[in-house]
Symmetry: C2
Subunit: 370 residues, 2 copies
Amino acid sequence: MTTIDDVARRAGVARSTVSHALSGKRHVASSTRDRIIAVVNELGYQPNAAARSLVSRRTMTVGLIVPLDLNILAENRYTDFIVGVGDHLNEHGYRLMCLIDRNPEPLDVQRLLRSDQVDGTLLLQVRTDDARVSTLVAEGRPFVTIGRPRNARGIVRADGDFVNASVVAVDYLARLGHTQIAYVTTGQGGCPVFGFQWYSLKGFRQAHRIFGLSLRRDQVLYHEQETYESIEDALAPMLHGTLAVTALVTPTFVAAALAMRVLAEHGLRVPCDISVIALGDPRLTALSVPSITVVRFSVTDLANIAVELLLGMLEGRAPAHLEHLVPVELVIRGSTGPVASTAHCAGGMNRDYLQPLESGGCQKSTAPAS
Amino acid sequence: MTTIDDVARRAGVARSTVSHALSGKRHVASSTRDRIIAVVNELGYQPNAAARSLVSRRTMTVGLIVPLDLNILAENRYTDFIVGVGDHLNEHGYRLMCLIDRNPEPLDVQRLLRSDQVDGTLLLQVRTDDARVSTLVAEGRPFVTIGRPRNARGIVRADGDFVNASVVAVDYLARLGHTQIAYVTTGQGGCPVFGFQWYSLKGFRQAHRIFGLSLRRDQVLYHEQETYESIEDALAPMLHGTLAVTALVTPTFVAAALAMRVLAEHGLRVPCDISVIALGDPRLTALSVPSITVVRFSVTDLANIAVELLLGMLEGRAPAHLEHLVPVELVIRGSTGPVASTAHCAGGMNRDYLQPLESGGCQKSTAPAS
DNA sequence: TTGAAAGCGCTAACAG
DNA sequence: CTGTTAGCGCTTTCAA
């Protein structure tokens, strides 16, 4: 292991000169500096991070707190965030420390912060009511949430504009003639689990007011997990005719894909009988058939914004706004269509629910282009 | 910030007594220890990680090197690894530092190691020929690869048993009567890009020898990226009848899903005209229609094994074997069927390629159970 | 323009 | 059983 003293000795200078030559914090004669640089390269010297952060009181490391939930991570929702954050941090000379925990005890977070392993923290997968947020506030260290809890007062946060996403979704459906729309989300005790689901629901309600649509309680369907069975249970009122809706909005791609399978298995055709819209940035939507209409936003933008906010705070700059929302856009694909256009629906029940890609309507499949 | 001296003063003992009371490395009178613990809890003391690792020469941190490739991470292939590794490390009191880099320069890896930020390293997304491996070998620090380069001599590695996965896949297809099978992979210069693709291909060839099947060069199809267009190009010989195969093996789920779309668009029915098998652990296979037959292995097991290997090395235990392979199992779903059973295929071209889930054959869809 | 020296918070060897 | 003390490798003040 090469230390700064090795370099100093070999270059025939004092330890402090090496330090300054490398940090540039005070002027060093260019001849001396060149000699030092040469020795550094020769020995492959790299300052010891622990020693450095012990004295400088900075670790140049950011913590990313990801509550482990295989059911959720398996869905690919958070990979892009982790990658986006990690890459952006590297570009700024910061390291990324991931705290991935099966059960994210406040204690784990405390340990991470109090042992001074990170200069700041990013929170992923924020719940409607998230204990980690209060913990972080109590610790009094800089942090930024990616996503928002219901009560976001005073915290610095970046998120997709999920409220607006719902409005855009409902608007589009309304234009297609839909007036009876269901909202499907994971929920516990009559409340969406994650922040983005809560804000989406808020937007869903808002949209109904804006567009003068009535909204009954039973149009909001909660499922416990993102599994086929759980979603089948949640959709039961639709499947048994108790709830008459012609469209369905859900804040996650997997729920949308599973819902479409449930509908299909029960003889309901997408988009003939039911239109489906997902929210978020599910790149995999392109894989499903029919591909799913989505109100999306750039996850990379969101990750970058969160990182910029945090690094700014670490360098003493207060953020311009507490809340930064990434704008959304509607991407029309094959899972949405005009309401109740039964005349266009050819074929028997449970036959044509699967349309060729990018085909929005319900007409019979035509011969391939080739 | 609370230091060990704060605790010592408040508990009326020496600094070293606090240290030992917490580490248990020498006996401390239980009365003294209780007093110290009480103060620790009262002040919320947590040892400073930098100071600790400066003197102990251990960071209790493991580095995970993930070359950023959005096209790949978007596919959800590596999320489960990151989560699996992170969670397992936490359980063992280690931290996870992620080096996620758009272009993983050997220099970045060197910096990480030489600045002593990690005790050991895990390599993800290993290429057939991977520069990072030589870098790590040259640095002489403990590391374990998750996945293997073509030349794995001397390195400690954990991987899915991809060679055997291919054998199982070809065996199954052969039992269904397939003799002409194509292998589809991302490749550059006539060689698969990633290690798992290389070993899969090796197994694919091996299987042909074992089962007495002939294998021509043109049965191995390379695509540049995992996009619809790129795969469409690669499959061109099949689509234009130049290459007569009845089945297709591909080491990734996304490639399989995209290939199925390509086939469908060109009027080929899965599994009627072409059977498709994917390798790996693509949980999302369940989402596609028809769901994809797969030879899978446990990603969590793989992650755990890699972590155990590395932590063992960090504690001075030499691994029992250099190579640890996670066994594979065949999961039969809807994308495979007997060869050329045209008689069973009802409906017109490009109509029935999308079968209800879990339906392996090509019979007409029946009415829903409900 | 450079060097000497103090000290960051901790562990562990040495003394008692 | 406990206290004293010497560093770990580095940055940074203070002197020259």
